[in-house]
Subunit: 408 residues, 2 copies
C-alpha cells in the first residue's frame, strides 16, 4: 500500500517541544515490541494481510478507550469484561466486524483469543480483541485460526509495518509511524498504527488505533492520557456523523525505569495527543472522494458545550460539506448550520464572523484558500470565550457512489 | 409546472373520516380568498412567476409557526414584531431569501410591504412577509415593486394555482391542493400551497406553507391546531438535517358562523394535520435524485424523546440514506444509527427488530419493498411503549452534484 501524504499544517498537531517524526517508524519502533501481519485469505484480495498481532515483549501497562455506541461489537463487549490495564497484546482481524453476530460471534472471538493465547503463551484475558469489516457476518475460523498461528510465528521487532497493513479495510493506506520525544531523562518513543477513513464506509466504519511507547508510566496516568488523547483527536474528526460499534484505542507502555511525572508526564500527554491527532487527521484526509481536510474552529462561544455543538453542526452539515467540495465560500450554509445549532438559545449575534484561513468569505483570498488540501474555517460567535476545534472533510459524489453501490 | 405524483400510502396521512381531496383545488378553493402569482423577472427564467399575494376577502383570524433557527431571515424577524393573529394577507417573493441582508434587507421588506398595503388597502402590519431564495443577496426592488402592483391588480378567486407557482424555487412542482371536510354542521374546505424540496437545496432551503380554510375558528384554537399540525408534518420530515432561516407556516381561517368546537374542532385539527402531512410528504418526494419516500417508525421506545431521537438518527444518517438509494436492506447501518442515538443510555437491547414493510431484513420481501416509491422502515426498541414517525428520503449522487455545483 502507498504511504499516506504528510500533513502540511504542523500547527494542527499541537505537538510539544521535542517531538519529532522518526522516518520509517512503526509500532515496533519503541523498544520491546513485536508485531506481525499475515494474509489468511479473508479479504477480497486473498493475498492481502488480514490478521495482525501486536505485543509487548516485556512487562507493560495498558489503557483502552472504546466506542460509546450503544450496540457495540462482540470484541468491544469482550474487552470490557477484562482488566484493561493488564492487556499485553492485541489480536486484530480485518474483514468481518464480528458485530451483530450474537452468541456465535462470541464463541468465534473466544476461539481466536484462545488460539492466540496458546501461541503467545500469554493468558487469554491479557489479549485484547479487535475486529473490523462487515457487520452481521461471522468470521471464517477455518481461515482465521491458521492465520493466527502464522501471525504468532511471524512476530518480529520489524513487524510493525505488516501489522499496520493487516488492520486496514477500505483505507487507501494505513496511518502509521513513530515519533521520538526528547525528555530531560532521555528520549522515549511513541509508535502508532491506525485504520479508518475520513468518510466512514458502509459497514466498515471502524476506527482502530494502537499506540506503543517505551516510556514508563503509572497505569492510572496512562489511562488518563489515553482518554484525553482520544477526546483531542479521534473524537474531533467529523466524518459523516456516524459512529461505529467497534471503535477502539489501545495504548501499551512498557518503560522499565521510574514512571514519568510532573513536566515529563505533561509533555508525554501532549505528545500522545499530537500523535493521535496526526493519525486522526490522516483519517479525515482518507475520505472516498474527499479533497480537503478542514479545521473548523469555533471561538468566542458561551461555553465548551456550545462551541462543540456549533463545530459539529458545521462539520457534519451536508450543505457545508458539499460547498467545501465545490470550493464555494458560502456564508449562508455555514450560518444556517450555526443557527440550527443555536436554536432556542437566547442572545445569538445577528452577524457571525466567519473566515477561511483568516480571510472573510467575500475576500477572494477565501476562495483561493479553499483550493488547498488543508485550511481553517473559523467561526466567531461573539458570545463568550470558549472554543472548540474539529477536523472535517468535504463531501463528493464518490461518497454516495461507494456507499450506495456497496451491498451487504 | 407539472403536477406532483399522488401519495400512494393513504395511511401515512392519518386523515379523519370525511376528509376528501377536491380535484383541481388550491388555496382559493375555500370561500372568501383571492390570490395571484406574477412574474417580475427575478428568477433565472424571467417569465416564471416569482411574486405571490394571498389574502382573505372577508374577516379572518390567523396563526403562524416559524423556524427555530437562531439566525432567522429578515421577513421572519419582521413577522415576529406583528400580531400574528391579525394577518389577513401574505406577500411572498421567490428568488432571494432576504436573509443575512441586515438593515438594508429590512428596508427592502418594509418597502415591499408598504407597496402591498397601499395596493390592497390593508394595514401594513396585517400583511405577513415571506421570502425564499438565495441567502445574502438583496431583493431587486425595481423588479419587485412593479411585481407587487401587478399581483395586487391580478388578485382573483381562481388565482390559487398561480400563487402556488410563484412561491416555488427549485421545486419540481408546487405542493398544492384543496380538501373538503364533512362535518355535522356542513362541509368546510382547506386549501394549501407549499414549497420546499425533500433534499434541501443550496441556499434555497426554505419550507413555506400557506393554508386557507373557510371554517370558523377561535383564534387560540387555530394557533394550537397550526402548532400541532406543524409538529406532526413539516417537523417530521428528514431531509438532510438542515434547517432554513425562513421556514414559515401561515394558516388563515375566515369562516363567519359559530366557531368549531368539541368533536368538530377535533376533526378539523386532524384534518389540518393530514393536509400539512400531505404537503410535507410531497417535499420528501421532491428531493433532487431522491427515489423513495420512507416512513421511519420507531416503536417500543422508553419515551417520546427517545423515539424521536432514534427516528432522526436513522432518517438523517447518510449511511442509511445511501443504502436506501442502493436498495440495500442493510441491518448494520440502521443498527449503527440506533446505537449512536442510544449512546450512554443503559438497558439497550442486544437485538433490534427492524422490518421493511413488515418483512425482516433477511427476508427477500424486504429487498422487494425497497424498490417501491413509498415504504415503511420499522425499528422496535423493546424498551417501552413510546413511538415516533418520521418521513425521510434516500440520498443519491444528484444531491451532491446539485449542492456542490451551485455557487452563490
Amino acid at each position: 500500500m502507498t504511504a499516506f501524504p504528510p500533513i502540511e499544517r504542523d500547527d494542527w498537531l499541537g505537538a510539544p517541544e521535542g517531538l519529532r517524526l522518526a522516518e520509517g517508524g512503526s509500532v515496533t519502533t519503541p523498544e520491546g515490541y513485536a508485531a506481525a501481519g499475515v494474509a489468511s485469505g479473508a479479504k477480497t484480495d486473498r493475498d492481502a494481510r488480514d490478521i495482525g498481532i501486536l505485543m509487548s515483549t516485556r512487562p507493560n501497562v495498558a489503557a483502552l478507550v472504546d466506542t460509546v455506541n450503544a450496540l457495540p461489537s462482540v470484541p468491544v463487549k469482550l474487552n470490557r469484561t477484562r482488566d484493561r490495564r493488564a492487556f499485553r497484546a492485541v489480536l486484530v482481524n480485518a474483514s468481518k466486524a464480528n458485530a451483530a453476530t450474537g452468541a456465535a460471534g462470541r464463541e468465534d472471538a473466544l476461539a481466536m483469543l484462545a488460539r492466540a493465547a496458546e501461541n503467545l503463551d500469554v493468558p487469554v484475558e491479557q489479549i485484547a480483541a479487535c475486529s473490523t469489516g462487515t457487520i452481521g457476518e461471522r468470521i471464517d475460523l477455518d481461515l482465521a485460526l491458521p492465520g493466527i498461528d502464522a501471525a504468532a510465528a511471524g512476530l518480529a521487532q520489524d513487524g510493525g509495518p505488516a501489522f499496520a497493513e493487516a488492520i486496514c479495510t477500505t483505507d487507501r493506506a494505513p496511518k502509521t509511524g513513530a515519533f521520538t520525544l526528547d525528555l530531560p531523562g532521555g528520549a522515549v518513543r511513541i509508535g502508532i498504527a491506525a485504520k479508518g477513513a475520513g468518510m466512514i464506509r458502509p459497514t466498515m466504519a471502524t476506527m482502530l488505533a494502537f499506540v506503543t511507547t517505551d516510556a514508563a508510566l503509572v497505569v492510572e496516568d496512562l489511562q488518563a492520557a489515553a482518554a484525553d488523547a482520544a477526546a483531542a483527536s479521534f473524537n474531533r474528526i467529523s466524518v459523516d456523523g456516524q459512529m461505529s460499534p467497534s471503535d477502539t484505542l489501545l495504548v501499551l507502555a512498557n518503560g522499565q525505569g521510574d514512571p514519568l511525572e510532573g513536566e515529563d508526564l505533561a509533555a508525554f500527554r501532549d505528545a500522545l495527543a499530537a500523535v493521535c491527532r496526526w493519525a486522526a487527521i490522516q483519517m479525515v484526509k482518507d475520505g472516498e472522494g474527499a479533497e480537503h481536510a478542514v479545521r473548523v474552529r469555533v471561538e468566542a462561544a458561551r461555553d465548551a458545550d456550545e462551541a462543540e455543538r456549533v463545530a459539529r453542526a458545521v462539520g457534519d452539515s451536508p450543505l457545508v460539506k458539499t460547498a467545501l467540495f465545490g470550493r464555494d465560500p458560502n456564508w449562508g450554509r455555514i450560518s444556517q448550520a450555526v443557527g440550527a445549532a443555536l436554536a432556542r438559545t437566547p442572545g445569538v449575534p445577528a452577524d457571525l464572523a466567519v473566515a477561511i484561513d483568516g480571510a472573510g468569505l467575500s475576500d477572494p483570498a477565501a476562495g483561493a484558500a479553499m483550493e488547498k488540501a488543508e485550511y481553517d474555517i473559523t467561526v466567531r460567535l461573539g458570545r463568550g470565550v470558549a472554543a472548540y476545534d474539529l477536523w472535517a472533510c468535504d463531501l463528493g459524489q464518490a461518497y454516495v457512489s461507494l456507499n450506495a453501490e456497496y451491498h451487504t
